[in-house]
Symmetry: C2
Subunit: 155 residues, 2 copies
Amino acid sequence: VRHDELADQNCAIARSTAVLGERWVWVILRQAFTGTRRFDDFQKTVGLSRNMLADRLSHLVDHDILRREQYAETPRPLFEYRLTDKGKALFPSLLALMRWGEEWTDLPDGPPVEVVHDSCGQVTHATVVCSECGEALDARHTHGRPAAPSYVRAQ
Amino acid sequence: VRHDELADQNCAIARSTAVLGERWVWVILRQAFTGTRRFDDFQKTVGLSRNMLADRLSHLVDHDILRREQYAETPRPLFEYRLTDKGKALFPSLLALMRWGEEWTDLPDGPPVEVVHDSCGQVTHATVVCSECGEALDARHTHGRPAAPSYVRAQ
């Protein structure tokens, strides 16, 4: 019930986290982005019980973040889970969370993984910038305001 | 127990979401970033029961994302909740989630809020770019690899 309330709010944050505020969801997404597709592979890498993992995968399928596709018929139907466009669009958020985690969660031996940006060949750190001027965004130099109706319509 | 397992993983995503994968946490953070500090104001704007809100605020204080400060002594001790540096560092992730929510969660009348970047004066959309070359990051043009020990040490 609580979750439905979140999903019904007229707020992009509330509605996102109604879907993504489930425990383990981001770890499943981490795996999906690194190419994991099959149930057993998710189980090995995520480390959840089969029941719980099945529940979380269904949740992501229900919200159109993963899609479930059959890849074998015999000896029994087998399915894999692939990111949809809606799911792929979470990559920037995943990187932003990852960077925060690297900087603030006291990883015992430092970040275990580095992300390489193939386009430039460098080890990259996700940086959240203004779409208009390219400067890094922080709370001190931004403010929210009700969206102008014309602006809303133009979306 | 499940949450402790997440927090113990050697992974920035798992450790972030051990803290941030609680329901309502991001809506509370949304309010904190817009200047809400007092319990009653959080309650009005977040729309949670007092018990649940108190629980979530404690969770964020326990994880050093909010700090609890007394602002009045009479007629009874009154406290407010302020973002710590660790909490403020979540702003880019909040903006990235907000943008995803705007684009993918079918807000009934479009995004209700727009974010103005005071430095350039424009309505801004959070964009996640490479720290090295400034290009927008997506999953197709990046790959992860185990961090080199020297790189880890340099963090």
